[in-house]
């Protein structure tokens, strides 16, 4: 559905890169337009020191923020997309994959790692929006499913960080069934009573929201993140009028009862560790 437009935009503008000054020393906040030192911004968990805008970061940044001393072991790093349907729109799917790999330095739109978070064992699967809009194809589904399997086998909590436009159209039916696959493994995780935290970041829409992202024991988000099933454009076209201000923001979703809490990224690690310690 609509979410794909964002996707294509996402490929062309790797946000973190563009906003850096040529010398790499300055970061300009896209929200309040104020500048700060890149280091200062990084030390503030990639959030604006002036307005608290949360920059759209990827797996590398989240892993370094969450794992103690930035140390982790990556799982299933060698999974790569195939082309099950010989899909060609304006260009063949494999060409799209190869050029995205080159541009983003990533192999697909999710990575899984395990390690210690404030001395607690944890498995984290994190999506990368820079890879075809964080779209969910077979590799994303498989990495999440295997991440959950690792959590099941070792009886350690699972954290999913979503940032995605939804399905990967070029894998059509295969993409759709990743919703079923990830939900199936989560059903097993729930039966085993292992904690599952789902962090929905900006943006999380479509089939990702309608499967693993909404199935946490704890559904949490970052301030102002866009969260929804249908994209705003599709809804606008459906109802034929403007959407109310703040519609589909994390704050809106919290108010309507589908999030447990919203947490500033710089507090994320401490809050999660504290919560998980209560359950241990």
């Amino acid at each position: 559905m609509s979410w794909f437009k964002r996707t294509v935009k996402g490929i062309q503008t790797p946000t973190e890169m563009k906003r850096e000054a040529p010398d790499g020393l300055w970061y300009q906040c896209p929200n309040c337009k104020k500048a700060m030192h890149t280091r200062e911004h990084k030390n503030n968990a990639y959030t604006c020191i002036h307005c608290n805008y949360h920059e759209k970061i990827g797996s590398e940044a989240y892993f370094s923020l969450l794992f103690d001393d930035g140390k982790f072991t990556e799982l299933d790093a060698n999974l790569r997309s195939g082309d099950p349907l010989n899909f060609t729109d304006t260009k063949p799917y494999p060409d799209r994959i190869r050029s995205t790999e080159k541009k983003s330095g990533l192999k697909d739109a999710a990575r899984t790692a395990y390690g210690k978070m404030s001395d607690l064992d944890i498995v984290v699967t994190c999506m990368d929006f820079a890879f075809i809009g964080g779209s969910m194809g077979s590799v994303v589904g498989e990495k999440i499913a295997r991440g959950i399997e690792y959590a099941l086998k070792n009886k350690i909590p699972f954290l999913m960080i979503s940032r995605s436009g939804g399905a990967r159209m070029m894998e059509a039916g295969f993409s759709l069934m990743q919703m079923a696959k990830t939900s199936a493994r989560l059903a097993q995780l729930a039966e085993a009573k292992i904690p599952y935290i789902s962090l929905l970041t900006d943006p999380t829409t479509g089939g990702v929201t309608a499967s693993y992202a909404m199935l946490g024991d704890f559904n949490i988000s970052e301030p102002q993140a866009l969260i929804g099933f249908a994209g705003p454009r599709v809804i606008k076209e459906t109802i034929g009028k403007e959407l109310p201000k703040g519609f589909q923001t994390a704050e809106f979703i919290l108010e309507h009862g589908f999030l447990d809490f919203i947490v500033d990224r710089k507090d994320l690690k401490d809050k999660l560790a504290s919560l998980l310690k209560m359950l241990a």
Partner: protein, 318 residues
């Protein structure tokens, strides 16, 4: 008045010719048996030629044929009794999904399906078969009821998608679908899901997690409709035929990719031409699948259901 798709028209013209011939022969008392026989044969041949070589887009058109049977039509044809049960117990009843206990030749099943309307008013009442969160929550409530009384579940899928409306978002469309996916994986009773028309994306999948997922011969099932895919990838509505080819959403495609478990064949020319025949095929398949699935223990069924969905995917591993 029958609705005719473009590729149905040449056949309908021959049929009209046959009618004329017989009427004239009756009026004038002429023997036209040979001509009738040969024209009847021509019609059959043309029908075979047309329907054995349908493009993917033509199948999508058939899946939406306005004369095609919908969930309540099948219920009318195959159930001796049906007690419709309403409401999600929280917000309201969603007419885009119907469900209830049904008696099929002495077997009690929980039958749940998406429902489209046939006339303008009913179409609006059913929201064109696009459920709101309440529909998915009602469906899950009824499935749990079936589990409680140890009755198999049959779902009929026919939707252009979950409704992308403002209230649907407010009331958690995504959460409702997600919960169904997880909960349906661990239902202790047999679950049979059949795509009878359109199987669009998460809105379809939200009631389509089962031990058997079957498709009618002229239905489609994918992550997006060809029209929406065309709009997004080609930036124009005009590439829907190419999009249909690219998405490979037909029953044969989905079976070849091991994304469904089987196909139920339709009468030649499509389900809409013979509701009785189609309903019988559907009923026989439902009963035989239930009989097969009841031979397996609940835990084995659940394990197999989970592993089936977990095996779906296509990737390289270096």
């Amino acid at each position: 008045m029958r609705t005719l798709l473009d590729f149905e028209k040449p056949i309908a013209e021959l049929e009209a010719k046959l009618d004329d011939m017989q009427r004239l022969a009756d009026e004038n008392n002429v023997d036209v048996r040979d001509a009738v026989r040969s024209l009847t044969e021509n019609i059959l041949n043309l029908r075979k030629e047309t329907f054995l070589n349908l493009t993917r887009w033509q199948r999508v058109q058939l899946s939406r044929h306005p004369d095609r049977p919908y969930t309540l039509d099948y219920i009318e044809k195959i159930c001796q009794e049906f007690h419709e049960l309403h409401g999600d117990r929280t917000v309201r009843d969603d007419p885009a999904i119907v469900g209830g206990f049904a008696d099929i030749d002495g077997t009690t099943v929980m039958l749940i399906g998406q429902q489209k309307g046939r006339k303008t008013k009913e179409r609006q009442y059913r929201n064109f078969g696009m459920p709101n969160p309440e529909g998915y929550r009602k469906a899950l409530r009824l499935m749990k009821l079936a589990e409680k009384f140890n009755k198999p579940i049959v779902t009929l899928i026919d939707t252009p998608g979950a409704f992308p409306g403002l209230e649907a978002e407010e009331r958690g469309q995504a959460e409702a679908i997600a919960r169904n996916l997880r909960e349906m994986c661990v239902l202790k009773v047999p679950v049979i899901c059949i795509i009878i028309g359109e199987g669009a994306s998460g809105g379809a999948l939200g009631i389509a997690i089962g031990d058997r997922v079957l498709m009618l011969e002229n239905s489609w099932y994918s992550v997006i409709s060809p029209e929406n895919c065309s709009t997004i990838l080609w930036r124009s509505w005009d590439y829907k035929e190419q999009a249909a080819e690219a998405l490979k959403p037909t029953a044969t495609d989905m079976l070849n990719n091991k994304l469904i478990d089987g196909i139920i064949e339709e009468p030649l020319g499509g389900a809409h031409l013979d509701w009785d025949d189609m309903s019988n095929r559907l009923k026989e398949r439902i009963l035989s699948e239930i009989a097969e699935l009841e031979k397996v223990s609940p835990q084995d069924r659940i394990d197999a259901r989970i592993e089936k969905f977990c095996s779906m995917g296509f990737f390289e591993e270096a």
